[in-house]
C-alpha cells in the first residue's frame, strides 16, 4: 500500500533547507527542547512505542536498543551514527545529510539524552564531502543557538556532536568495524559479544544507529510514539512509521521517496519508479541493497500457516507484499536498506552477479579465511561461467563455497556475500546452465543495452 508521507523529507526541495532558519520554520528543535525537559526513561519509552526498526539493514527496534544502555560507574556513554552508506544500491542517508542536516543533529540531541550519552559521533564515508560540510554547518549553527554545548536549551545536560570520516572501506558500515575505525584503527570487525552497548567506542557503552534511524527520532516525538507507529501498514508486526525508499537501475524515475512503511515492490517499481525503462520487462529485483537475495516477478508467497507474518498474502505475488523487516525475512530475503535495484530482462543475470561478486571480493576485510578466500573463489567462478568456460560442477562449487562462508565469519559480511550468491544460482539456474551449454541469453553478458 502506497501512502506517501512528508516528515523526513519536508525540507527536500526547499531553498536553503539545510539552514537552521528553514528547519526551525517547520518546527525544528521543538522536540529536542521538550524531550530534554522530560526524563531519560520517558524518551526510551516513547521510542519503544514508535516501533522504529533500524534503517541500517538489520531492522532491530531502536527503542529496545536504547534500553540496553545502562549507566556505568566510571565510563561515559556514546551515540555513534552510522552514515557509511556503502551497501550497493543504497543512496538514502546522503539525501538527509545534504538536504536536512539539522534533523540529524536534533535526532542526536534526543538520542544522546535517551541513552545517557554526552557526545555523538556521526561516521560519514569520506567521499560524501557535501554531506560532511552540511553536517558541520548544522552543528555550528546549533551550537551558536545554544542547542548544543554545555547547556542545550538551558538544561544542564551537555551534548556535543562531531563528524568523523572514514577512508573508503565498505566494511566500516558494519558497526563494530566502524567503532574500530572511529578509534583510529583498521576497520576490522570485532567479535560479539561483547555488544556495543557494553563495550563500544573507546571501550565505553555505545549505541550505534543508522543515520535515517536518528533522523526519524524528531518525527517520533512530534507525532508521539504510538501515532508514529500507526502510520505504518505493518504496525501490527511491530514495524512502525515512515521511511525512505530508494529505487535504482532499470526504472524510468529512479530516486529516493518517503512513504509510510508498507509500500510494496510493485508500488516502488511501477508507481514511484515509473516502471521499467527502455521498453523492457522486469527480470528481477534486489529489494534492499546488494546483500539481499534477489526476487523474481513470477514468485508467489507460500504461507499457509496462519502464524506466518506472510499469511495475509498467501498465494499472492511477492511484488504485492508490504516491504517490512519481518515480511521480507519470511520471504527468504531481507528488507535491508529498503533501496531496491531493478533489473530488466534486457540484461544478463550472471553479469549482475559477477558485478556484485567483484564488489564483495574487493571489500572483504580479509580477517576471516572463509570470507577472504571464498569471495575470491566466487568471483573467479562466476567470471568463468559468464565467459562460457564454466561447467555444471562449478555451479555446485559456488553453492558449496557460499554455504561454507555462512555462519563461519566474525561479522555478517559473510552472509551478505553468500546469501545473494545462493539466491542468484538457485533462481537463475536455467541461465547458468545455458551459459555452460554455450547458449547464453540474448543479453549475452551485458548489463546495459
Amino acid at each position: 500500500m502506497l501512502q506517501r508521507t512528508q516528515h523526513l523529507t519536508k525540507l527536500y526541495g526547499v531553498a536553503e533547507g539545510h539552514r537552521i532558519e528553514a528547519y526551525e520554520r517547520v518546527g525544528g528543535y521543538v522536540q529536542a527542547r521538550k524531550a530534554l525537559a522530560t526524563t531519560q526513561s520517558a524518551v526510551v519509552d516513547e521510542m519503544k512505542k514508535a516501533n522504529l526498526r533500524g534503517r541500517g539493514g538489520a531492522g532491530f527496534a531502536a527503542g529496545v536498543k536504547w534500553s540496553f544502555m545502562k549507566p556505568h560507574a566510571t565510563k561515559p556513554a556514546y551515540l555513534v551514527v552510522n552514515a557509511d552508506e556503502g551497501e550497493p544500491g543504497t543512496f538514502k542517508d546522503r539525501t538527509l545529510m545534504e538536504r536536512d542536516p539539522h534533523r540529524v543533529v536534533e535526532g542526536c540531541i534526543i538520542g544522546c539524552f535517551g541513552i545517557g550519552a554526552h557526545a555523538a559521533y556521526i561516521y560519514v564515508r569520506d567521499e560524501l564531502h557535501l554531506s560532511k560540510e552540511r553536517l558541520w554547518g548544522a552543528i555550528r549553527e546549533a551550537r551558536a543557538k545554544g542547542y548544543l554545548g554545555a547547556k542545550p536549551f538551558g538544561r544542564d545536560y551537555p551534548v556535543e556532536v562531531y563528524v568523523h570520516t572514514g577512508a573508503g572501506a565498505y566494511i566500516c558500515g558494519e558497526e563494530t568495524s566502524l567503532l574500530n575505525s572511529l578509534e583510529g584503527k583498521r576497520g576490522e570487525p570485532r567479535l560479539k559479544p561483547p555488544f556495543p552497548a557494553q563495550v563500544g567506542a573507546f571501550g565505553c557503552p555505545t549505541t550505534v544507529n543508522n543515520l535515517e534511524t536518528i533522523a526519524a527520532v524528531p518525527t517520533v516525538f512530534e507525532l508521539g510514539g504510538e501515532a508514529f507507529s500507526k502510520l505504518s501498514a505493518l504496525h501490527h508486526l511491530g514495524d512502525g512509521g515512515c521511511r525512505l525508499y530508494g529505487v535504482s537501475g532499470h526504472v524510468k524515475t529512479p530516486g529516493v521517496f518517503e512513504a509510510a512503511v508498507g509500500v510494496t515492490l510493485r508500488d516502488l517499481i511501477y508507481d514511484l519508479g515509473g516502471g521499467i525503462s527502455d521498453g523492457g520487462e522486469l527480470l528481477a529485483v534486489i529489494p534492499g541493497g546488494s546483500s539481499c537475495p534477489v526476487l523474481l516477478p513470477h514468485e508467489t508467497v507460500s504461507a499457509p500457516d496462519e502464524k506466518s507474518p506472510l499469511h495475509a498474502w498467501h498465494g499472492k505475488s511477492v511484488l504485492d507484499v508490504p516491504m517490512g523487516v519481518d515480511t521480507f525475512r519470511a520471504l527468504g530475503t531481507m528488507l535491508g536498506t529498503c533501496c531496491a535495484i531493478v533489473l530488466s530482462d534486457k540484461v544478463c543475470p550472471l553479469a549482475a552477479m559477477q558485478n556484485l561478486m567483484h564488489f564483495y571480493r574487493h571489500e572483504s576485510c580479509g580477517q576471516c579465511t572463509p570470507c577472504r578466500e571464498g569471495t575470491g573463489w566466487l568471483d573467479r567462478l562466476v567470471t568463468k561461467l559468464l565467459a562460457g568456460e564454466g561447467t555444471l560442477d562449478d555451479l555446485d562449487r559456488i553453492h558449496e563455497i557460499a554455504s561454507n562462508i555462512m555462519g563461519n565469519t566474525i561479522c555478517a559480511f559473510g552472509e551478505g556475500a553468500s546469501m545473494p550468491t545462493l539466491g542468484f544460482v538457485r533462481k537463475f539456474r536455467r541461465h547458468f546452465e545455458d551459459h555452460v551449454a554455450g547458449k547464453p541469453c540474448a543479453a549475452g553478458g551485458r548489463l546495459h543495452a
Binding site: 565498505y170 573507546f202 576485510c365
Partner: protein
Amino acid sequence: MPFALSPERDRELAEILSRYPNRQAACIPMLHLCQEQNGWVSDEVVEFVARTLELPSAHVLGVVTFYTLFNQQPVGRHQVWVCRTLSCALRGSDELLRHCEKKLGVHAGETTKGGEVTLRTAECLASCGTAPMMQIDKNYHENLSIAEVDRLLDRLLAGG
C-alpha cells in the same frame, strides 16, 4: 626531508584532537589532512603521524594500507573515480569507464603522462539513483552522458 603540516592545517589538527578522548582516534582524520597537503601518504607522513599521535609507525601503516582512499604512491593533480557497481553498471558505467580510458590514454588505476589525472574505479558511491556517476576530486557528477564526461575531462586536461 621530514614532513610537517602547514600552520593552518596544524591549527586544524589541534581542533581535530579536541574531538576525541584519545589521540589515536585522530589517526584517520589526520592522515586525510596530511594527504591533502602532500598528495599521498609517504613514509615521512607515516612517521610524522605516528610521532604526533604517539603511535607505533606499524599501526599507522596498517591503517594506511587498509583504506582505499589513502594513496600509497604519488597520484595525478586530479582524481577521477568512475563508479562500477551494479546500479551504475545497469546504466552504462562500463562504457563511461572505457571512454575515460580512451580519452585519457590510461587504464583504470593509472595516471596520465603529464600527471594531470589519475583514473580509478570506485565501488558504490551512494549515488545509485543518479547513475551513471563519477567523482572528480571532492565533487560528484551524476546522471552522466558521454558528452558531459568529455567536457569534464577536457577541463581537467586543460589544467582547470
